[in-house]
C-alpha cells in the first residue's frame, strides 16, 4: 500500500509499505528500500520497530480518534503526521487542516474569551495569536498552526466556551 505522510510543516514523504510476512515489511521511500519489522507490542501504542538494524521503541497514538492523524514519539522527540493511503489520496479526502487548506482554530479546553486579536479578512502568519482564552486562571493565546486569511471570528470577549469550540475559521491565502 502506498502512503503519503505529511508533517506539521506541510512537507510530505511518499512511502510504499509491503508486508513480507507477519510483522515484517519492505518499505520504499525516495527510491530507498528498507527492511522493517513492526510490532504494536501492548496494543496501546508501544511499538517495537526495526528499520534495517536500527531499533526503535516508538510510542504511537492517533489524535482525537482520527486514524489518519498520528503522533509518533521516539526517545522523547515528538512528531505529528497526517498519513493517507493511496485510495484516500485518489478520493481527495484531504479536507482537514494543513497548509493551503481551510483551518478551524478550536479551544483546547473550556475557558473564557478575554481577547480577540484578529478580524475577518485579516491575513495571519502561522503561530500568530488569534484569541486569548482564560483557563485555569491563566491567559492563553490561541494561535493558528498554518496561518491564512481570517474567514470568520466565531467568539467575542466575555464569552464562555467549552473544549473543542470553534473560535476562528481561516482560509488559505488567495495568493497561494
Amino acid at each position: 500500500m502506498k502512503y503519503s505522510i505529511e508533517n506539521r510543516a506541510g512537507q510530505s514523504l511518499e512511502g510504499d509499505v509491503v508486508e513480507v510476512e507477519g510483522g515484517r515489511y519492505q518499505v520504499r521511500v525516495d527510491g530507498e528500500t528498507l527492511e522493517a519489522d513492526f510490532a504494536d507490542v501492548d496494543r496501546l501504542g508501544q511499538c517495537a520497530v526495526l528499520l534495517g538494524d536500527r531499533s526503535f521503541g516508538a510510542s504511537v497514538e492517533t489524535e482525537a480518534g482520527d486514524e489518519t492523524h498520528l503522533v509518533v514519539r521516539i526517545a522523547g522527540f515528538s512528531y505529528s503526521f497526517r498519513v493517507f493511503d493511496e485510495r484516500e489520496l485518489a478520493a481527495g479526502v484531504l479536507d482537514s487542516p494543513g497548509p493551503g487548506r481551510a483551518e478551524v482554530v478550536r479551544a483546547a479546553m473550556p475557558g473564557i474569551i478575554v481577547g480577540v486579536k484578529v478580524a475577518a479578512g485579516e491575513r495571519v502568519e502561522p503561530g500568530a495569536p488569534l484569541v486569548v482564552l482564560e483557563a485555569m486562571k491563566m491567559q492563553n493565546e490561541v494561535g493558528s498552526v498554518h496561518g491564512g486569511v481570517v474567514a470568520e471570528v466565531r467568539v467575542a470577549v466575555g464569552q464562555t466556551v467549552s473544549a473543542g469550540a470553534a473560535l476562528v475559521r481561516l482560509e488559505p491565502p488567495t495568493d497561494g
Binding site: I5, G45, V49, V60, G76, F77, L133, E141
Partner: protein, 502 residues
C-alpha cells in the same frame, strides 16, 4: 516504632497527595483521602485507607472547602491534616481551625504563615532580622532629584518603576547617573498618561537574576537547619519547569552564608516545619524574595541529595518530635527535577487536556518518579497542570543531566501534550549544560527561534506509515473475525447489504 500519628487526612489531590500518602505508609500512619467529583478514580484515593467525597469539580466546590475537610477529619478520627501545596496550604485561617478542632496541622505556625504571606510585612520583618532585601524606596518619590539621591545610595544600575504601574509601562532601567533625569521624566510622563499617576519608585536593578531558594526545617524547640539551595531559574511566566541542586553558581561558602540567612529569616518569625526561603541572586549578591510556608513542588531534589525525607520530618515535627538532624548533614551528588505539566510548549504553554492512553514511565538507576498518572486518566482543566515529576540523582551534575535526558527519552505520556519535550530540549542547550542561565533564559530562548532538533524525523514518518498500515490490517482482521462471522457477512453488513436490526 510507634507512628507519629495513627491517622492523617491529606487535604489535597494529584501528585502531592500521593507523595504525602507514601511517607505516611513509610511511617505506619493510616491515610484518609478527600476527592472531588472528577478525582474519584485518582491514585491518591486508591492508595488511601479511607476516602471521602467533597463533591464538585472546581477547587471552590472541593479542595478549598476547609470546613467540610475538618468535619471529615473529625468524623473519621484523623489526628492530623497535611495540606500539601496550593489550595489551603498557606491559609492561616485553615491552619488555625485545624488546631482549634484538636488536630495537628502539618505545617508552620499560622502566625508565621500570615507574616510571610504579606509582602510588606514580611519585607519589614526581614529587614529587621538583617536579611538582605532588594534595596528600594519604601515611599514613592515625586521628582528626579530625590530619585538620583537614592540611586547614588544603592548604586547603579537602578530601575525606575511607576508607583501605579503594571504591564511594563512606566519602567526604565538606568545604568548611570547622567541618564537618570531624562529617564525619570519620560517614564513619569508615560505613567501619568497611562494611569493618571506619575509618581515613581527607585529599586536596585538586578542583572540576569537567578532564582535560588533555600530549604529550611525547624522544630518546636526552635532548632532550625537548612538543607542547601535549589536552583530554579528555568521558568516561564514565573512558573518553574526544571530545578536542580546544587546550583551551578553556589559554592560551599556561599551555601553556608545563604543557609544561615534563610535560617535567620525562619527564626525571625518563629518558624517550625518545612519551609523555603526564596532569593534572587545576581552577580554574587542575593536578596530575599519571599518565604513559602509549605512543602514545595521541587523538595524532592533536596531529599535526593541530603538523603532526608522532608515530608517525614514535617509530620514528625507536627507530632511534637524533635528534629534529630543537625547542620552537619552533608549533601551528596547532584539532583535535577523536571515537571511534567499538561501544556503545549508549541502553543505558548497553553494548558492541555485529554485522556492518557499510552503511558510509558522511566525507571532504573538514579530515577525517581513522583506521579499521579495512570492509564485512562482524564486530564481536566479544573486544577493545576502539573501531572508528575521526574527526579534524577547522580554523582555529578553531568551524570544527573544525562540521566534526566535518558528518563525523558523513556517517558511517554500519550493522549495529552506535556512540557516533557521542551524540557528535553532545554537540557541539551549550551546554556543549561554550562550552568550559565537566569530567570529570563527560557523566554528569551523560546522567543529567539530556538533551533529545531528533529533527530528522528524521517524514521518517525516511516513508523507512522507502518502504524497506519498495521491499524488498517488489524481492523480488517477484527472485521473478518468479529463475532465469528465470515468475512462475507461482515463485508455485507459494513456496506449495507443484508444484516439486520438497524
Amino acid at each position: 516504632m510507634k507512628p507519629p500519628f495513627a491517622k492523617l487526612l491529606i487535604a489535597n489531590r494529584g501528585e502531592i497527595a500521593v507523595r504525602v500518602l507514601r511517607t505516611c505508609r513509610d511511617l505506619g500512619i493510616k491515610t484518609v483521602a478527600v476527592y472531588s467529583e472528577v478525582d474519584r478514580n485518582s491514585l491518591h484515593v486508591r492508595y488511601a485507607d479511607q476516602a471521602f467525597a467533597l463533591g464538585g469539580k472546581t477547587p471552590a466546590e472541593s479542595y478549598l472547602r476547609g470546613d467540610r475537610i475538618i468535619e471529615i477529619a473529625l468524623q473519621c478520627g484523623a489526628e492530623a491534616v497535611h495540606p500539601g501545596f496550593g489550595f489551603l496550604a498557606e491559609n492561616p485561617g485553615f491552619a488555625a481551625a485545624v488546631a482549634t478542632a484538636g488536630m495537628a496541622f502539618v505545617g508552620p505556625p499560622p502566625k508565621a504563615m500570615a507574616v510571610m504571606g504579606d509582602k510588606i510585612q514580611s519585607r519589614q520583618e526581614m529587614v529587621a532580622a538583617g536579611v538582605p532585601v532588594i534595596p528600594g524606596m519604601t515611599e514613592p518619590c515625586p521628582d528626579p532629584a530625590a530619585a538620583a539621591g537614592f540611586a547614588e545610595q544603592i548604586g547603579y544600575p537602578v530601575m525606575l518603576k511607576a508607583s501605579a504601574g503594571g504591564g511594563g509601562k512606566g519602567i526604565r532601567v538606568v545604568r548611570s547617573a547622567g541618564k537618570l533625569e531624562a529617564a525619570f521624566r519620560t517614564a513619569s510622563a508615560e505613567a501619568e498618561g497611562a494611569f493618571g499617576d506619575g509618581r515613581m519608585y527607585v529599586e536596585k536593578f538586578l542583572e540576569r537574576p537567578r532564582h535560588i531558594e533555600v530549604q529550611v526545617l525547624g522544630d518546636h524547640r526552635g532548632r532550625v537547619i537548612h538543607l542547601g539551595e535549589r536552583e530554579c531559574s528555568i521558568q516561564r511566566r514565573h512558573q518553574k519547569l526544571i530545578e536542580e541542586t546544587p546550583s551551578p553558581v553556589i559554592d560551599a561558602a556561599t551555601r553556608a552564608a545563604m543557609g544561615a540567612t534563610a535560617v535567620a529569616a525562619a527564626e525571625a518569625v518563629g518558624y517550625y516545619s518545612a519551609g523555603t526561603v526564596e532569593f534572587l541572586w545576581s552577580e554574587g549578591e542575593y536578596y530575599f524574595l519571599e518565604m513559602n510556608t509549605r512543602i514545595q513542588v521541587e523538595h524532592a531534589i533536596t531529599e535526593e541529595v541530603y538523603g532526608v525525607d522532608i515530608v517525614e520530618w514535617m509530620i514528625r515535627i507536627a507530632a511534637g518530635q524533635e528534629l534529630s538532624l543537625d547542620q552537619a548533614v552533608q549533601p551528596r551528588g547532584h539532583s535535577v527535577e523536571v515537571r511534567i505539566n499538561a501544556e503545549d510548549p508549541e502553543l505558548g504553554f497553553l494548558p492541555a487536556v485529554g485522556k492518557l492512553r499510552n503511558l510509558r514511565m522511566p525507571s532504573g538507576p538514579g530515577v525517581r518518579i513522583d506521579s499521579a498518572l495512570y492509564r485512562r486518566m482524564e486530564v481536566t482543566p479544573y486544577y493545576d497542570s502539573m501531572l508528575a515529576k521526574i527526579i534524577v540523582h547522580g554523582s555529578s551534575r553531568d551524570q544527573a543531566i544525562r540521566r534526566m535526558q535518558r528518563a525523558l527519552a523513556e517517558l511517554n505520556v500519550g493522549g495529552v501534550k506535556t512540557s516533557a519535550s521542551i524540557a528535553l530540549e532545554i537540557l541539551g542547550t549550551e546554556e543549561f549544560q554550562s550552568g550559565v542561565y537566569d530567570t529570563g533564559f527560557l523566554e528569551r530562548w523560546m522567543a529567539g527561534g530556538r533551533p529545531q532538533r528533529e533527530p528522528y524525523a524521517r524514521e518517525a514518518a516511516i513508523i507512522a506509515a507502518l502504524h497506519r498500515h498495521h491499524l488498517a490490517r488489524r481492523r480488517s482482521i477484527r472485521r473478518a473475525g468479529g463475532g465469528g462471522l465470515s468475512p462475507w457477512v461482515a463485508q455485507g453488513r459494513r456496506t449495507g447489504w443484508g444484516g439486520g436490526g438497524r
